[in-house]
Symmetry: C2
Subunit: 158 residues, 2 copies
């Protein structure tokens, strides 16, 4: 077992426990590490802040990016007390850290009635078979934004 | 074609175009609608704010929740200029709006070198086959947070 990784995961789990004890949100914590040091921490704050995106990993990523003054977490590792939900996993891919470690699994989250597993299943379905009413319209009209983007001198890729 | 839906999608596309022209971010816009009125708007602000989670839908969802003082978008519709990436689609599921409409597709985004399609593919793979180094450890230790959550008198489900 990787000693330093287990120490950082322990901290993510400690944050998850603390968050339940304080009543601020769900049982989830995360930390971002760079050069062997924790540069950002996150705890689930959905109900406390009325923000459905305020999951532990999202908060930790946003804080780490603020610390680094960058929209990329190059050279960083993310440690989460639980397997990231699709939203958080997507955020992790966009942030592009070097490594991801997690402790609990999405089945553990599902056993506590969190929607992680349901959302993974929905995403794997064709749009028209999902429980969430979803409709695509006006694809051609949307092309204007992409065409302008492809030619824009102001474009900053991410 | 649903006339009101096409009007709201047009606004989402207009925001996407405006965002490219201002140089603030990627070619993506979104609006949240309740009772036939736009209550929140979002444009991609990733590079402008150094926040990899600042996609149009995330920004619009956070703003709509602030307006409604709720972590749920019950009775709302989300309109996005492009098919949501996994992060944003996850956020939409957590916010639980009634309907989702989008214009461009993830293939359109991929043709502009955005990672949406790549992230969808990664998510569909077993963890150990992904390009992002991902490791699960200490699943049992993580159980403490879930056990405390299941018994917590302060618990607020979401």
């Amino acid at each position: 077992m990787d000693q330093s990784a287990s120490g950082f995961l322990k901290e993510a789990i400690r944050l998850a426990v603390e968050n339940v004890e304080s009543g601020n949100g769900g049982p989830f914590g995360a930390v971002v590490v760079k050069d062997g040091k924790i540069i950002a921490r996150g705890m689930n704050q959905v109900t406390h802040t009325n923000d459905p995106t305020a999951h532990a990993e999202i908060i930790a990523i946003r804080e780490a990016c603020a610390v680094l003054n960058s929209f990329q977490l190059t050279g960083c590792e993310i440690y989460s007390s639980c397997e990231p939900c699709p939203m958080c996993l997507g955020a992790i891919y966009w942030a592009r850290p070097d490594k991801l470690y997690y402790a609990g699994s999405k089945e553990d989250a599902a056993s506590m009635h969190f929607d992680d597993q349901f959302i993974y299943e929905e995403m794997a379905l064709p749009v028209e078979q999902r429980k969430l009413f979803t409709r695509q319209m006006m694809r051609e009209e949307a092309g204007e934004a992409f065409q302008k983007w492809s030619k824009s001198p102001l474009k900053k890729e991410y």
